[in-house]
Amino acid sequence: MLKRARFHRCKFWQSASKADKLQALTLTETQYGTQKQMNYSEWIYGFGGGLIIGSGGLLFLLVNGRILGPSGILGGLVDGTGRENRGERLSFIIGLIVSATIAAVLMGRDNTEITDNLVVIIAAGVLVGIGTRMANGCVGGHAVCGISRFSLRGIAATTIFVTAGATSVLVLRHLWGVI
């Protein structure tokens, strides 16, 4: 995390004087320090956000009779297998984007902190697309909806993709330094 923050800071350095750079460095180090300490509020926001996501899943299941799974909802639209309920899928995606926009503005979150390496992004996108469709679910479907009904497939899938994700971060970040 620190490494990435430094990398992004480099861009601002190009036109700054040495003193400014030093000040920027100390400032961001302090900011980073406080950010570290503010983890607890991150956890609370995480839990609250989780409750909101779960309520969405509850309504979607009990009202529409559907599983809240972004990969399935989008996948059915993309490959045409979900043609008969296209309206429902589109509405879900539109609702997701609109409310995320509003929430991001209200909460002052303006960045997904995504890498700017397009090759990595494309590779990851293709892998995520193939993987979620092969496994019939992503974090929403398998972890949130699967584990909550004690589904063996959901628990297995979650264990596997968390392990695979951790391995990919371990190898690509700490061993190879690619990301």
Binding site: L61, G75, L127, T132
Partner: protein, 145 residues
């Protein structure tokens, strides 16, 4: 009516993703980074999301039909086949690479920027290609029938 509720559920999902901070790829990669600076936020998000969903499944057991007339999806078969295992591995690697899964990837459009759109396009391509990779191994690797 169905569309209206789908819109509402999508809206709840999107708001929840932003509130929980799961649109931040750094937090997701932080969750996966067990050997580095591990960030447990995703665990709290999952814990929060599981509570209403457990209630939902409990209620669904009492009533088999959803409010708008659709039957509640039945428990799918519980075989752990090659598709599930290999698909999850492939997904996990891509997830760790950038820190976006399909939900946050759709929500990331809200933040603007080209990267999210490129990711979405690549993901859509992957979803179109996926049936070619689906393996016909349904009856092997059978752990629980």
């Amino acid at each position: 009516m169905r569309n209206l509720f789908a819109l509402l559920c999508g809206a709840l999902g999107g708001a929840g993703l932003v509130v929980s901070g799961m649109t931040s790829t750094v937090k997701i990669q932080g969750w996966l980074d067990f050997t580095g600076s591990w960030n447990p936020t995703l665990g709290f998000v999952l814990a929060g999301a599981l509570i209403p969903m457990m209630v939902a499944w409990r209620l669904a057991r009492v009533q088999n039909v959803a409010a708008l007339g659709e039957p509640i999806p039945r428990h799918p078969h519980q075989r752990i086949e090659a598709n599930l295992v290999i698909g999850s591995i492939v997904f996990g690697v891509g997830w760790g690479l950038v820190g976006l899964c399909p939900g946050p990837a759709i929500a990331s459009i809200a933040f603007g920027g080209v990267e999210g759109l490129v990711f979405l396009a690549a993901m859509a391509l992957g979803m179109v290609l996926a049936p070619r990779f689906r393996l016909r191994l349904e009856n092997r690797w059978q752990v629980v029938s």
